[in-house]
Every structure is written in C-alpha cells, then in structure tokens.
C-alpha cells in the first residue's frame, strides 16, 4: 500500500454505513452525536487543527482540576492515614494487632497481596499482547491499563512489609554483602517472589515511562505554552523529546522489545506468587495447576479492573469519545475468554479433588463450603453469571451493567484469594490445630487503606501525566485510510 492511499477525505464519516460494526474505531466517536465538538474537529481535513483539539481534549483531565477532586483526594488521604496509623501501631505493638494465630500465619494481608499482584497483570499483559498483535482498538486505553499495573504493584509490594514480623530487619532479605557474611536463601519461594515482584515493578514502571515519553512531550509543550507549573517536571521527564524520525524509529523498536520482555516477566511473576503456596506441602495449596490458575486469575481480575476503571474514567472525565463503548466491548470479549478459562481451571481443581475424595484435600472443600459457602457462591456464581451476561452485546455496551459486572468479578476474585489463604491454613494436616479466623480492625483498616492508596496514586497520576495514549491514537489515525471496496469506502489500517 503506497502512501498515496493514505489520505483523509471529508466523506470518510458518511462513507461508513457499516451498521454497528465499526472497522474504524477512531471514527466511531465522531458518529456519536454526544460529542459534536470532536466530530467537528475531525470533519475538518486539517490534521493540525483537529490534532490540537484532540490534544486539548485528552489533556483536559490533566490540566483542569475541579474542587471535587481535592475533596476526593483529601478523603482518600484520611482513609490512607487511618490505615497507616494502624500500620504504625502494628509495627510498634506487634503483629498481635492482627487476628492471625497459629497455625494460620498468613491471613488477609497475603490475600490482599495476591489480589493486588493479580490486578497488576491487567495492564502489561493487555498492553503488550495488544501491542504485539497490533489490535487497533487498544490505542487509547493502554496508558490507563499500564498505570494500573504499576500502581497495583506498588500497593502489592507494600503488603509484604506490612506482613513481616520484624519490619526493621527486612533488609536481611536483600542480597547485600555484609560483615556477617550472610546471604538470603534463594531456595525460598519468597525470595523468588521478592525478586520477581521487584523486577516486574521495575519492568512495568519502565514500560509505563517509555510509553509516556511522546505524550509527556505533548503535555510539556502545552505546559510551557500555558506557563503551567507542570512544565518543570514534564520537560525533565520528557528527556527533550522532539519527535524526530530517529527518535520514533528507536522508540518503536524499544517499545516492541519491552512489550516482549514484559510479556515474559508478567506470567512468571504470578506463577512465582502462586508457588509461594504451591511449593509448600500444605494440602490444598500443593497443586500443579496453581501456576496457570493464578496467572489466568490475575488476568481475569486485571481485565475486569481495567474495565471498571475505564468506565469510571470515561464517566468522571467525560472521555466518552476517547474511551468508547467499543473498547469496553472488546475488553469484555477478552474477559469472557479469560473468565471461561478461569472457570475451567477452577472446575479442574475442584473436580479432581471431588472425585478422588482424598480426605485432607476434600476436607478443605467441605470446610470451605461450610464456613465460606456464601463467599464461594459469590465467587463462582459471579464468574459464571458474568460470562452469561456478557454474551449479550447489549450488556457489553451498557456501561452501568458492565461497571457492576466487572466489580462483581473483582469482588469474587478478592474472595478467591481470601479462600486460597484462609480456609486452607485453618484446616491443616494437624487436625488439633484447626482454627477459625476473621480479620481484625487493624487488618481491615490497612486493606481498605491500600485500596485508597491505589486510587490516590491513580488520581495523582491523572493530574500529573496524560492518561490517554495520545501518540498511539495519532499513529492509528495516520496509518489508516479509506479503501474503496465495491461501492463502499472501507476504513483500513496499515500494518507492517
């Protein structure tokens, strides 16, 4: 396809007429009567004018701040401060502030930790898979997803610190040369875990930053033009990005490479997290399926969280034209696939134990069903129900429905993590030591604080960095054009 074909024509919009199926997602927004302004700007063939307004439009969440935002941030701050206060109390008084007890040594903290690590799998996996497969609809949503990865990892990384008994000795776990000539034990899954999470955090932060580079330049230019205070860090962080051809070529290659690398790291991370459990000889944990099951569960909860987040962003920042129903629709389709795989794995795990009726393992299921029966139904039922509901396009494109469905999925996935940790540890080999557990106020406060912390990080990110992957959207617009097929002009995408 030569470059001559790549030209914009003013009848691109009207030439559509493909019913509801859109081959050109970018244009869908402009057919949406709600965003007249956007349509007007794209109706004009002048790239410069509509790209400017596009910039303005997508940077608006970053540069304009309402009073409600400050109220929201302060409210989050209070919740976080509360959690932090309990954490400090726990550190100074002792882990007894939690409700954990022998032999239930891991409780809600680790469940939440696994949950957050799982959440982190949305961003990078979605981002890198879609990037590598060059799915066109990925373009506007990558940033939001990647940021989610980074922040949920930050939150997840906090939990081991909250969890350990001697926070002030945590550096024993770092491989630092020392006069004691002691080293950490790399045979411990916890060391793998620590390394994997650290590396994944580094990787996904890098990935996020590299993806941000061109958009930082956009924001920088705007900030400099408007003499906004953000120009200080933006010009620093954008590294002097000019958008030269050389920069773009190197950048494209690097981000592809990063996508591959992250795609290699991400599943390994959650596999290793699952090995924290599966490597032990505790019945109920010691199964081979845990690795893939955790990875799929992570992607499952991650994608659901991405959808929840997208819908919130779209609603709060009026980004309907950027994050369109199409994206939710596509993500929901992906979610269905993952949900089916997850349910399948869950069924596999259950079925094997159910059939063999091996007492120590089946005992756990009975124990679970007895004590956490309703939880179990929310989790499994939620998953099956969501698959069922999302099969309808009407529901997939109904933002309110999708919001609640994905929320339900994540509540279910949180329960799943809780059920992996708590019932199994409360039903150990040593029957004398069976036990019951309910998280304490300290644990709940810290966990609630962690959610607030995540939202706060996200909220701050929104105000400091562009949330829409602008360069990617622009690239999508550039490399697409109308091709005449029969009597219809069809929007096509240039692919290398």
């Amino acid at each position: 396809m030569s470059s001559n074909n790549v030209k914009r024509s003013s009848d691109a919009v009207t030439a559509g007429g493909h019913g509801d199926i859109s081959l050109l997602p970018e244009l869908e927004a402009f057919r949406d009567p709600k965003s007249k302004a956007a349509r007007a700007s794209y109706d004009d063939a002048d790239i410069y004018r509509d790209e400017k307004s596009f910039n303005e439009h997508t940077l608006a969440p970053m540069f304009t701040t309402s009073r409600a935002y400050f109220v929201f941030v302060i409210a989050l701050g209070i919740v976080i401060a509360n959690g932090f206060a309990w954490f400090v109390a726990q550190t100074f008084l002792g882990m007894g502030q939690t409700n954990m007890h022998e032999p239930l040594f891991w409780g809600a903290y680790i469940a939440t930790f696994v949950f957050w690590v799982g959440m982190s799998h949305s961003g990078t996996i979605v981002s890198s898979i879609l990037r590598l497969s060059q799915a066109n609809w990925r373009r506007p949503i990558l940033r939001a997803a990647e940021a989610m990865t980074a922040f949920s990892l930050l939150v997840a990384g906090m939990f081991p610190l909250v969890h350990v008994g001697r926070l002030w000795r945590v550096y024993y776990m770092f491989p630092l040369p020392n006069q004691r000539e002691l080293w950490p034990n790399f045979k411990s899954p916890l060391m793998w875990d620590m390394m994997a999470i650290g590396i994944y955090l580094t990787g996904s932060m890098t990935f996020l930053f590299i993806g941000l580079l061109p958009d930082l330049a956009v924001a920088r230019d705007k900030a400099i033009r408007e003499n906004n205070w953000r120009r200080h860090y933006l010009s620093f962080l954008s590294l002097g990005w000019r958008g030269s051809h050389r920069e773009w070529s190197v950048y494209n290659k690097a981000s592809m490479f990063l996508a591959v690398a992250i795609l290699c790291i991400a599943p390994s991370v959650h596999t290793i997290v699952s090995w924290d459990f599966a490597m032990t000889m505790t019945p109920g944990w010691h199964t081979t399926i845990f690795g893939p099951y955790f990875v799929v569960g992570a992607i499952y909860s991650g994608i659901a969280a991405v959808i929840t987040l997208m819908i919130s962003l779209r609603w709060i920042f009026k980004l309907d034209d950027v994050i369109r129903t199409l994206h939710i629709d596509c993500l929901a389709k992906l979610l269905i696939v993952i949900a089916i795989i997850w349910t399948y794995f869950y069924f596999c795990e259950f079925n094997v134990v159910w059939y063999s009726q091996k007492p120590e393992e089946w005992g756990i299921w009975e124990w679970q069903a007895e004590r956490f029966g309703s939880f179990l139904w929310i989790m499994v039922g939620g998953s099956v129900l969501s698959i069922f509901l999302m099969s309808w396009r009407k529901i997939r494109t109904n933002m309110v429905a999708m919001f609640f469905i994905t929320l339900l999925v994540n509540v279910g996935m949180f329960i799943e993590r809780y059920l992996i940790v708590v019932p199994i540890l409360s039903h150990r080999d040593s029957a004398y030591m069976w036990t019951d557990y309910v998280p304490s106020v300290t644990e709940l406060s810290i966990i609630v604080g962690s959610f607030a912390y995540f939202v706060l990080l996200y909220a701050l990110f929104l105000k400091l960095f562009p949330i829409v992957t602008m360069a990617d959207v622009k690239e999508g617009v550039i490399v697409s054009g109308d091709v005449k097929l029969g009597r219809h002009a069809v929007r096509m995408q240039v692919k290398e």
């Binding site: 630092l176 020392n178 006069q179 004691r180 000539e181 400099i224 200080h232 010009s235 954008s238 002097g240």
Partner: protein, 179 residues
C-alpha cells in the same frame, strides 16, 4: 530555539534534596549495617576505682588469679570481695579504695560492678572454650592490662567473631553461638 532543560530552581532544589536524602540514607544504612558506630566508647565509672594496670601490668598478677571461673565456665567470673581480701588483708590496707572493699567484705555486701563488655542476649559465649584454645584475653578485651579504667575496645559485631572463627577453623554453625 527551544530549551528543554528548563529546570527551575525549585525543581533543582527538590531534586537535589531527594538525591541528598537517598545518598544520606545509603551512607547511614551502610554505617548502620556495618556497624562501626557500635563501638561507642564505653568507659563507665566503677564503684571501686580499680586499676587493671596496677594489678596485671605492674604487679603481674595473672588474669585468672582473680577471674577464676574463666577456664572452667562460660563466665569469666568477676571476683568477689573475698578474693580481693586474699592479698589486701596484708597489702595496702590504708588506701581509701581498699577501705571501701574492706567495708563491703565486712558487711557481706556485694560490690556492684558495672559491666563493660556485654554481648547481646542472643549470643552465647563461653570463656572456657576460648581459653582452652589459648585465645588470649587481649584478643577480645584489648590491651586491658594497660588500662587504668577499663573501656570497651571492641564492638563485638558478628563479623569480628566470624573472622576469628574462620581463621582458626572454629565452628561457624549458627547454633555455636545463637540459642
């Protein structure tokens, strides 16, 4: 045409501050980690102004004459007043410090010495074992026979013990010292 490096003073200060903080933390962490600062001069005032120099150096009294337990026990055994009186029943009875000792002896009231060389609770140390291997007192206690007032000369960090143990092929199994 356009200068990108428009780092304002504020930004520079903030960045500098963060950098300095990280650097400081690293340095402090290193210090804390390597622990040389444990070697705080610890030279407490003792109830009796006893001089190791006078006894051990000038008069060449062997260490284990007073610290009798050292070769057969984990503790070196700080001598009781009765041990002092072995000699001081005939020597220097009139000196003011000796009078204090005599008072303790006669009232059967123990002398409350202040501990100078102290190991943490989680370390188990046996004098007996080390003396059996001919480790000199000075290896750990420094030139104690030259001291008028005893001060701590060693931080007793694990590295110190470990170096010597490795050098002499003593056991370095954790439970050798940690119970």
């Amino acid at each position: 045409m356009v200068k990108f490096g428009s780092l304002s003073t504020t930004a520079k200060v903030v960045l500098g501050f963060i950098g300095t903080a990280i650097a400081t933390f690293l340095v402090l962490f290193y210090i804390f980690y390597e622990g040389p600062f444990y070697l705080v001069a610890h030279q407490p005032t003792q109830p009796i102004n006893y001089s190791h120099k006078v006894h051990a150096d000038d008069n060449k009294i062997p260490c284990q004459y007073c610290h009798t337990f050292a070769r057969r026990s984990e503790m070196s055994g700080v001598p009781g007043a009765a041990r002092c009186m072995n000699c001081h029943e005939s020597v220097k009875q009139e000196a003011p410090e000796i009078k204090k000792v005599i008072a303790h002896y006669e009232n059967n009231k123990p002398i409350e010495w202040v501990k100078v060389f102290d190991l943490p609770d989680h370390v188990w140390f046996s004098h007996k074992k080390h003396i059996a291997k001919d480790v000199s007192c000075q290896t750990c206690h420094g030139p104690i026979e030259k001291m008028d007032v005893v001060s701590r000369t060693n931080d007793f960090q694990m590295g110190f013990c470990l170096d010597c143990h490795q050098e002499n092929e003593a056991p370095t199994d954790c439970w050798t010292c940690h119970t």
